[in-house]
């Protein structure tokens, strides 16, 4: 596509001054930005590293970068150059700047970003700490504050005390977003009491009202002497003038008194009578702020506001790093907040005299981030400044995105103009679309709700989309000029709030329309989540009977209420019913066996909770009892199964944040269940063709062929905390007066009024943004339960389209016109019946289910020869020593205490080696490590040296000592160390030394035990073509050599032993072989049940 003239002007502006691009929706702004970068790099040969492009979201940065690279035609070199352009969000830019210049900024270069949840937690702690501190200090002002502050509990927090903490936290958060040292306000505001007195005097005279006259004189007296006592007098005056009407010649005076002076004085009175409380509030805000920063500093973490502020500070300081950008491009400038503006200013300054060229794109009508403190006036001022400085201002008015009818609807609904949220605008339709006869805009109104308005509306909308999918043709991107039928994936539903979005998504799912909802509150409201949370709580402490009962009734155990009552009757606490000695008399056998299985699983989980992370615990418990099978069979199962995955992912995120202990995870989860934060999740499985459901804010920057805006009638309920802050007015609060009324003080009243205006305007812009997302078809949808309580949006829509919402309607789609705009209108009354809604087939399961494998046997692929020998001696001993790896040291002194005797293998006395140590030393000595050997060692070694075998070995042709080998027997690999292997004229001899204390008479018996080991070595040598002629166990203490049978049969049985060894591993079966030996075994009476 060729660039239009204004676009080209924006792209190719080559001058030192700033460039300001006003880009309406769909005007190809991103394209202009991309083209400009390309032009700079390719045509003007600007070094790519000298270009910085700042986007508003990470997603936009990703997309811009991708487009830069992918649209680069030409060689790899060009692509690489374009890829080197720096595209990032402001936050990412600050982050990088601070890390790279950490010494200058004085920060830790490895600082971590504080995630919003943690930040809130820290802030809340700081608030609690401040309140506690003031209380401990018995600050009298705190008492005043607590008594006077008018908290308004929010929906999440029913209790007022909690509300105070929340409000204070919110206040401090606001204060923080205004830079480092904001103005908090003065503690003693005054009101126009004198003006009020004068005006009232005039009024009293005119009306000849003696009562009022008396009040007025008292009032002026008090105003002079003690303004803090004004409140009751002003209230009295208000009562007295309440009978006067704004009529006749006194109208201006009465109006002034009633509308301006009295309210102002009342608020001022509220301020001054609560002076101490207010002073405390200011002090508390300051202290909280300090505590909060200190807490962050201590943990070496920063939040986004910190990085912004510090980066700005760094750039403005005297040792600011010298930056070398030549071009800075900024997108969505209308949504930047004061902190960000400060940063950008600093960024330009840090270039010294060679300032980069600034290219700014934005649209004042699309500023919708006021709640993130964006100030839209900034853009306005900037534009004016650019114009004055002779820079370039380019307006892109062509809209390539939407059909003209849609734009016409936008003009009708949101004409814009003075005193509105939207400036007057001209969107010129410039896109090309296939011709179409049906109207492109429709208004659907549903009256009277089913279970909830949103779900009812969802049903109606689902029906409508289904019809459209059969009939609507949309432009085919792959075939310019052509058209194709609409798919689900073409449609998007935009809602004002997350809650509405999830309700619609729920309704769609019920109606069988495939849809993807990006973020939702659903996870923590889902019954599975509550159930798994109960499971974790029961694991923490099963005496939490509510949770345990929930688990018992859930698919984990699935017992009936009657059984529950029986268990409860028989036990003090329900948890006792899971003790091994519990009495289950009366339970029917089926229930009892289910409970028995549950108890075993539950006990294991309880035991594992110390070492297995919560996520794994849940997975195991679910797998063991087939939890997911229930989800497979229920109607909502798909959704519930997805929730389970989301929940596991969520726990995984907690683990990644260092919340590892079950207690901590469960507590965090319980908190989330209470607060219900919205969560974002990637879908576990891709849904190729489905309707997207998202919030209007999230839709910014996106476009869809078909857009439905839903629940337009809803008025957003904003929880306004009792304290507010603004940069100009400082802190304001609402107070309870002595007669129980809640009154704002002066600052609060002003901030509140400002906010209201701003919010109303922003709502208009939000609708503007939402409507302009549509390319070809726009559905405006609303529903009413009972009497329509209309939002500003709906009023605008109704008047723009000339529709009387309350009048009766046929319930069918009607073709209507407003001016030259044709649109469809339908008003349905009463819930749609399922048949009328033409309910589609229940969607097929989202994908195949993977079934767990049948468990197969598993064994190690390698083992030590000594392990096989140990196994031959006693399988259980092998299991404990080698499979588990339990050594006597692991028992520490515990074992000693438990049995009152030293353990074999443990050091007996300082300096005296234990038998096993002695064994090692002798082996080393015999292998030639003679240094530092003790006399005891030498003595034992001499027994061998003097023996005939020793003498032969000394004069052998070749001798290998302490030789470690690996070899294979069958498919298994064995490791072993041969003590001595020598070869002389009589043959090859294999020797193994033992330092056991055995009497001569027992040696043959002992040799039988040791035979396996030597036979395996012999078998290995055999395989390797070095067969031994003789194998000997040499008992060093008595100095006796015992020959071992290494005949073919013996070797074969040793090999069989290896097979048995590995199959025992597969079966995990290691029976005891009790005997007198046991007393020498380190596991005897420790981990081994033998002898008890």
């Amino acid at each position: 596509m060729r660039l239009t003239e204004p676009q080209r002007r924006a792209v190719q502006s080559w001058q030192r001054g700033d460039i300001c691009v006003i880009a309406g929706p769909g005007s190809g702004k991103t394209r202009v930005l991309v083209e400009r970068v390309r032009w700079l790099v390719l045509e003007r040969s600007v070094e790519p590293e000298r270009i910085l492009a700042i986007t508003f979201t990470e997603k936009a940065a990703l997309e811009m970068h991708a487009r830069l690279v992918s649209e680069a035609s030409g060689t790899e070199g060009v692509r690489d150059r374009l890829a080197a352009v720096h595209v990032s969000t402001i936050d990412a830019f600050c982050n990088r700047l601070l890390r790279e210049h950490a010494p200058l900024a004085g920060v830790d270069p490895g600082f971590e970003m504080l995630d919003p949840g943690d930040a809130r937690k820290l802030l809340e702690d700081a608030v609690g700490d401040t309140l506690d501190w003031a209380f401990r200090k018995s600050d009298p002002r705190l008492g005043k504050f607590l008594a006077a502050y008018a908290a308004s509990p929010s929906r999440q927090r029913a209790d007022e005390v909690g509300a105070i903490q929340d409000d204070l936290a919110a206040l401090v958060a606001q204060v923080r977003s205004h830079g480092r040292r904001p103005f908090l306000g003065s503690p003693r505001p005054t009101g126009p009491a004198r003006e009020l007195a004068t005006a009232l005097m005039e009024l009293a005279r005119a009306k000849d009202a003696p009562g009022l006259l008396a009040t007025v004189s008292e009032l002026s007296e008090t105003a002079r002497l003690d303004p803090s006592k004004l409140a009751p007098l002003v209230a009295r005056a208000q009562g007295e003038v309440s009978g006067y009407h704004k009529r006749g010649k006194l109208k201006p005076l009465v109006a002034r008194v009633k509308d301006d002076l009295l309210p102002a004085c009342l608020t001022a009175a509220a301020s001054s009578s609560n002076r101490a409380a207010r002073a405390w509030l200011l002090a508390a805000a300051r202290r909280t702020l300090r505590q909060f920063s200190a807490a962050k500093h201590a943990s070496g973490r920063m939040d986004f506001d910190d990085t912004l502020a510090m980066a700005a500070e760094l750039l403005c300081s005297e040792n600011a790093p010298q930056l070398a950008y030549e071009h800075v491009l900024i997108d969505e400038f209308q949504d930047t907040n004061p902190l960000q503006i400060g940063l950008i200013e600093g960024l330009l300054q840090a270039h010294g005299p060679q300032r980069p060229v600034r290219f700014v794109a934005g649209d004042i009508n699309q500023s919708i981030y006021g709640f993130r403190h964006a100030v839209r006036e900034v853009f306005q001022n900037y534009r004016e400044r650019v114009e004055q400085a002779g820079g370039e201002v380019v307006e892109l008015l062509d809209n390539f995105r939407s059909r003209p009818e849609i734009l016409a609807a936008v003009h009708r609904v949101l004409p814009g103009g003075q005193g509105r949220g939207i400036d007057r605008h001209r969107l010129q339709a410039a896109g090309r679309f296939p011709p179409k006869r049906e109207p492109c805009v429709e208004l659907l109104v549903a009256e009277k709700a089913g279970p909830g308005p949103a779900s009812h509306e969802g049903t109606a909308l689902a029906e409508r989309l289904r019809t459209l999918r059969g009939s609507l043709q949309v432009a085919d991107r792959t075939n310019p000029g052509g058209a194709r039928p609409m798919r689900w994936g073409d449609a998007a539903v935009l809602a004002r709030t997350h809650a509405t979005a999830s309700a619609i998504a729920q309704a769609f799912r019920r109606e069988g329309i495939p849809c993807v909802a990006s973020a939702s509150r659903g996870l923590f409201a889902a019954p599975v989540t509550a159930e798994l949370a109960a499971f974790l709580r029961a694991l923490r402490n099963p005496r939490d009977e509510i949770s345990l009962a929930a688990v018992l009734k859930s698919p984990f155990c699935a017992i009936s209420d009657s059984a529950l009552l029986q268990l409860r009757m028989a036990h003090q606490n329900l948890a006792d019913a899971l003790r091994p000695d519990a009495d289950w008399g009366g339970l029917d056998p089926a229930t009892a066996s289910r409970l028995e299985r549950f108890r075993a699983r539950f006990d294991l989980c309880r035991e594992d909770r110390g070492i297995v992370p919560a996520r794994q615990l849940l997975v195991r418990a679910m797998a063991d009892c087939g939890y997911r099978s229930l989800l497979e069979t229920t109607e909502d199962g798909d959704m519930a199964a997805a929730r389970v995955d989301q929940m596991l992912d969520w726990i995984g995120l907690q683990h990644a944040r260092g919340v590892l202990d079950l207690d901590a995870v469960s507590a965090t989860l319980d908190r989330a269940l209470q607060e219900q934060p919205p969560t974002e999740f990637a879908q576990a499985a891709s849904e190729p063709d489905s309707v997207q459901v998202l919030t209007m804010h999230a839709a910014k920057g996106l476009e869809f062929p078909v857009v439905a805006l839903v629940s337009l009638q809803r008025r957003v309920w904003r929880h306004r905390p009792g304290m507010l802050f603004s940069g100009t007015h400082g802190i304001g609060a609402r107070w309870t007066s002595s007669d129980g009324d809640r009154r704002p003080d002066a600052a609060y009243a002003r901030i509140d009024a400002d906010l209201r205006r701003r919010e109303d305007h922003e709502e208009e812009r939000l609708l503007y943004v939402a409507m302009t997302r549509a390319e070809e078809h726009l559905i405006l949808s609303a529903s009413f339960a009972g009497m329509p309580q209309m939002s500003g949006w709906m009023r605008g829509i109704a008047s723009g389209l000339g529709v009387k919402l309350r009048s009766q309607s046929s319930g069918e789609l009607e073709d209507r016109t407003a001016g030259d705009l044709r649109f469809l209108y339908r008003k349905t009354t009463g819930p749609l019946t399922r048949t009328a809604a033409g309910r589609g087939p229940v969607p097929a399961r989202r994908g195949d289910l993977l079934r767990p494998r049948e468990a197969t046997a598993q064994a190690d692929y390698a083992a030590a020869v000594t392990s096989v020998a140990l196994f031959a001696e006693c399988p259980r001993k092998y299991y404990l020593s080698r499979q588990l790896g339990l050594a006597s040291e692991d028992w520490g002194s515990q074992a000693g205490r438990a049995h009152g005797r030293p353990q074999p293998g443990a050091k007996t006395r300082r300096g005296t080696p234990s038998p096993s140590e002695l064994g090692t030393q002798v082996h080393e000595f015999l292998a030639g490590e003679t240094e530092g050997a003790t006399p005891a060692v030498r003595k034992l070694a001499r027994h061998f040296d003097r023996h005939e075998l020793g003498r032969r070995a000394a004069s052998a042709w070749s001798a290998e000592r302490e030789a470690a080998f690996v070899f294979s027997i069958g498919s298994h690999v064995l490791r072993g160390t041969i003590d001595l292997l020598f070869e002389d004229s009589h043959g090859r001899v294999l020797v193994d030394y033992k330092t056991d204390r055995r009497s001569r008479s027992h040696l043959d018996q002992a040799a039988l035990e040791h035979a396996t080991q030597l036979q395996l070595y012999a078998a290995g040598l055999d395989n390797a073509g070095r067969a031994a002629d003789r194998a000997v166990v040499f008992y060093l203490r008595p100095g006796v050599a015992v020959d071992i049978d290494i005949g073919t049969a013996a070797l074969a049985s040793a090999k069989e032993q290896v097979g048995r060894f590995f199959s025992a591993q597969s079966a995990q079966s290691f029976p005891l072989r009790e005997g007198p030996r046991c007393r020498h075994c380190p596991h005897f009476r420790n981990a081994c049940p033998a002898g008890s």
């Binding site: 909830g452 009962a549 110390g610 087939g626 997805a642 499985a685 390698a862 515990q894 081994c1088």
Partner: protein, 902 residues
């Protein structure tokens, strides 16, 4: 000789053939193969063994083992020790910035990495000195110098020095019996490693070194053999797959493994960052029973065993804060953790929180003998927080604590392999813990006769644990191998997966170094300082990618997620993009289930056999119970019949509306009886309530007290009753009256506790109930009472009529919150009372009595259906929602409540 070839071109094979020949010729002890990792060593050895050889294990050695053998008495520091030393050096630095962040492990990590890099490049601080410029670099140089000096003062060397020493030892002493040296599996060498290789080459008769093509940086290559890419590789099918999320990726891997029909050992998953995927893989594989083995090591500090132990020490140091202490006591690792007693103790103490100190716990330990014994064992540590022992003594004490506070409970009976593996992990962690405690003693800051505090010692232990990694011993063979890239080099399997190939994950981004940014690095390189530039790093990452993406002999799957776990969008790794193939979306799958669980059912009523128990547990009724039942039978069942109790509430939640209501009622009662001014009475009542709840006054309680006090004073200042009740009447306060309802025998009784009633000489009676509520809700409540939805007042009147013989004439509700409000109705009406017809009142009473009778009857008949009258109630107020399962399909649909919107 230098063997050069791409991965899989048979370099290793050439070397193995050489070894094979030597062993068969009986010269096994003359060969030495040097490899980088222990797993590669094991792999080569077992390959040889499988060929029927019996190779001596010494034939294959890792480089670090070899160096250790050559230079056994050179000490290098452990990572934690070095880190501590660096912290000391930084704290003494002249740079304010470095001093400020000396405590930051992240900064230290970076500096340590930079020093290692310089050493590896053959530069020490003296060589670096001439190249340094600017304040920051100078500051770093000073740290570098001082660190080196301190190191040698301590008699330690850094690992590179050790290698250099090994090289000169090899040159001096030769190689004993070894004649042939092979080197395999390395990509690059530090300067010192190069030195060592030169020495080996000089000493050995035969020397060969295998390296991947392209890099092959071994300057002294005498002869060079370049191997062509093996033909087998050509036949490998490569697929690029995009999944919606990491979970989708892992599911795809699982799907392919399950459907491949091959043995498990034919699969491997290669990861750049195991941390990102380990838990997910473990989760999905475990649910699908796919046996798998992880080849990466995990940090000792994150194992439950070490955390539990450190938690104990912290508890002691912080002087036994009750909550933390409870967590440690109830942990299954503690000696009492397996006992039911510990759970009971936990809740018993939680009732009395907040609290702190061993005495606090002990004072609550009556009736818990084992816990008491454990606490007694802790006695000697009571004053440890202010003790300063020598490090050795701390070690002893800590190990002693470990034995006492952490019970070792190995599975006595062999069970599943899973448990065996868990247990091995536990043992490994426990051993790491023991040695960490030992290692902590030798930390540089405890040198000399320093006597650290417990906190300092625990910090040191924790640092060591963080720097220690453990690997659970596992030698299973027929499993899916999950390998970090570093371990994957010598592997090749029929089917290999590489996951997480997203931009920003692979290549791993490298932050610019604060001292030597890339430009500076180039300058240094030009000056001959061995330091790597980002281009070189990028090249290394590319090589890693090659390894990760070429492990298969038949099918190689490369995948990346389109979103990360928190929903952030991701792009394909540039390496993957460079392959120029379009990714395929993987089909949606989900984890299914092998066996079926019991499916819970929701009952309408209890089994008849249990009705006796029901009546035993419901001997008497009260009005609020009846209200509960009418809201929802199941609510009543859980709260009353089952009488389920949850966790003890947190201290901040204990002073709830119910308690405040009680305080208000008792205060008014006492005030009515003329016991004093209402404010004082309230304060007393409040105080005793706090005591009962084990709460100390704080700003929360204070806020509530102030608000209630204000409200009650307003109430006392306004003679409500006087204008609302019939004239000349006598007031009675706080009376307990019974109402017999229903027709069961014996007739059930409903207990009514009446705040106040007034009777006039004509026996007309008005009943009054105080509510701590705002005027709106009082009005609502009245209309509910008048409409018969709420039975309270009618039941009260009926009870009074039945037992006191009065004539019901009116009802009055007094709301006390935020100013006093009244709402009421009476026959004839007067003052604040709405007029009411006598027959209507009578009707209300009859209906209420009958309604209560039915309710009581339903309870006794065992009706327990979860059938809420107001679904909003379930969400907002009911604690039993998970028990009744009302939220599940097949029951009442979940309420369509939308917070935030009106």
């Amino acid at each position: 000789m230098l063997l050069i070839g791409p991965p899989g071109s048979g370099k290793t094979e050439r070397i193995l053939t050489g070894v094979d020949r030597a062993i068969r010729a009986g010269r096994g002890h003359e060969v030495l193969v040097l490899v980088p990792t222990a797993s590669m060593r094991a792999h080569l050895l077992s390959t040889l063994a499988r060929r029927g050889l019996m190779p001596p294990t010494s034939a294959v050695t890792t480089m670090s083992e070899f160096v250790g053998q050559q230079a056994p008495d050179m000490l290098d520091g452990t990572p934690a020790w070095e880190d501590r030393l660096l912290a000391q050096v930084l704290a003494r630095s002249a740079s304010r910035w470095l001093r400020k962040w000396a405590g930051s492990s992240r900064l230290r990590g970076r500096i340590a990495a930079l020093m290692r890099e310089l050493w590896a490049g053959g530069a020490d601080s003296y060589q670096l000195e001439p190249a340094v410029r600017g304040t920051q670099q100078t500051a770093f140089l000073r740290v570098f110098r001082e660190y080196e000096e301190t190191l040698s003062d301590e008699g330690r060397v850094h690992p590179n020095q050790r290698i250099a020493a090994a090289a000169s030892i090899v040159r001096e002493r030769g190689l004993d019996s070894v004649r042939t040296v092979y080197v395999d599996g390395f990509y690059q060498f530090t300067r010192q490693q190069e030195e060592l290789l030169y020495a080996l080459e000089e000493q050995a008769e035969e020397f060969a070194i295998a390296m991947p093509e392209g890099l092959a940086h071994y300057p002294r290559s005498a002869s060079q053999v370049v191997l062509p890419p093996s033909l087998a590789k050509e036949g490998v099918r490569r697929e690029i797959v995009a999944a919606p999320s990491p979970r989708g990726e892992v599911l795809e891997v699982a799907r392919r493994i399950l459907s491949s029909g091959r043995p498990m050992r034919d699969h491997a998953v290669v990861l750049r960052s195991p941390d990102r995927y380990a838990d997910l893989l473990r989760e999905v594989f475990e649910s699908l029973k796919i046996p798998h083995r992880f080849w990466h090591r995990e940090r000792a500090s994150s194992h439950g065993v070490t955390r539990h132990f450190v938690a104990w020490l912290r508890v002691i140091h912080r002087q036994f804060p009750a909550e933390e202490c409870l967590e440690a006591i109830t942990s299954p690792l503690s000696p009492v953790g397996a006992l039911a007693e510990a759970d009971a103790f936990d809740f018993a103490v939680r009732e009395c929180l907040p609290g702190s100190g061993l005495e606090f716990l002990e004072s609550n330990a009556d009736g818990f003998p084992s816990v008491a014994e454990l606490l007694a064992q802790l006695r000697p540590c009571r004053d440890w927080h202010r003790k300063r022992f020598g490090a050795k003594r701390w070690e002893r004490e800590c190990l002693d604590m470990l034995d006492r506070l952490q019970a070792l409970r190995p599975p006595v009976v062999p069970g599943s392999l899973r448990r065996t593996l868990d247990w091995r992990g536990t043992l490994a962690a426990r051993r790491a813990l023991r040695s960490a405690v030992g290692e902590a003693v030798s930390m540089p800051e405890f040198k000399g006769r320093k006597r650290p505090s417990l906190a300092a010692f625990v910090d040191a232990v924790e640092d060591v644990l963080r720097a220690t990694s453990v690997r659970t011993p596992d030698e299973r063979f027929d499993v899916v191998h999950i390998l970090p890239v570093g371990e994957a080099r010598q592997w090749s399997v029929p089917v290999a997966f590489a996951c997480g190939l997203a931009d920003g994950w692979f290549p791993r981004p490298r932050a610019q170094d604060v001292f030597f940014a890339d430009g500076e690095r180039q300058r240094l390189q030009a000056l001959g300082v061995g330091i790597r530039t980002s281009a070189q790093h990028a090249e290394e990452e590319r090589r890693r990618f090659e390894v990760a993406s070429s492990r298969a002999t038949e099918q190689q799957v490369l995948s990346y997620p389109r979103h990360d776990d928190s929903g952030r969008e991701l792009r394909m790794s540039p390496f993957l993009a460079a392959l120029g193939e379009q990714p395929r979306d993987c089909p949606p799958v989900a984890v299914g289930c092998g066996r079926s669980s019991g499916s819970p059912k929701r009952a309408r009523s209890l089994r008849p056999a249990l009705l006796d128990s029901v009546s035993a547990r419901n001997a008497s009724f009260n009005v609020s119970g009846i209200r509960d039942y009418r809201q929802c039978p199941y609510l009543y069942f859980s709260a009353n019949t089952l009488d389920l109790r949850g966790r003890p509430p947190e201290p901040a939640e204990r002073l709830d509306g119910r308690v405040v209501g009680k305080i208000v009622h008792s205060t008014i009662d006492r005030w009515n009886r003329g016991l004093g001014p209402i404010g004082g009475l309230l304060d007393k009542a409040f105080e005793s309530a706090l005591r009962e709840l084990h709460l100390e006054a704080d700003f929360r309680t204070e806020r509530i007290r102030l608000a209630v006090r204000k409200d009650l004073e307003r109430f006392a200042g306004r003679p409500v009753a006087a204008m609302a009740v019939p004239s000349n009447s006598v007031a009675r306060f706080e009376e307990q009256v019974e109402l017999r309802v229903g027709d069961a025998q014996p007739q059930p009784r409903v207990q009514c506790r009446i705040d106040r009633y007034d009777v006039n000489p004509g026996r007309d009676c008005v009943v009054t109930d105080y509510k701590y509520a705002r005027s709106g809700s009082v009005k609502r409540l009245l209309s509910q009472n008048l409409a018969g939805e709420e039975l309270q007042l009618a039941l009260y009147l009926a009870a009074l009529e039945q037992s006191r013989g009065v004539e019901p004439a009116g009802m009055l509700l007094v709301g006390l919150r935020d100013g006093t409000s009244v709402a009421g109705a009476s026959v004839g009406g007067s003052g604040d009372l709405k007029p009411l017809r006598r027959q209507d009142l009578r009707r209300l009473l009859v209906d209420a009595t009958q309604g209560a009778g039915e309710t009581v009857g339903d309870v006794l008949r065992g009706r327990i259906e979860a059938l809420p009258r107001d679904v909003g109630f379930c969400d907002r107020w009911c604690r039993f929602k998970p028990v009744c399962r009302v939220a599940w399909k097949g029951g009442t649909a979940p309420p369509d409540d939308e917070p935030g919107v009106r």
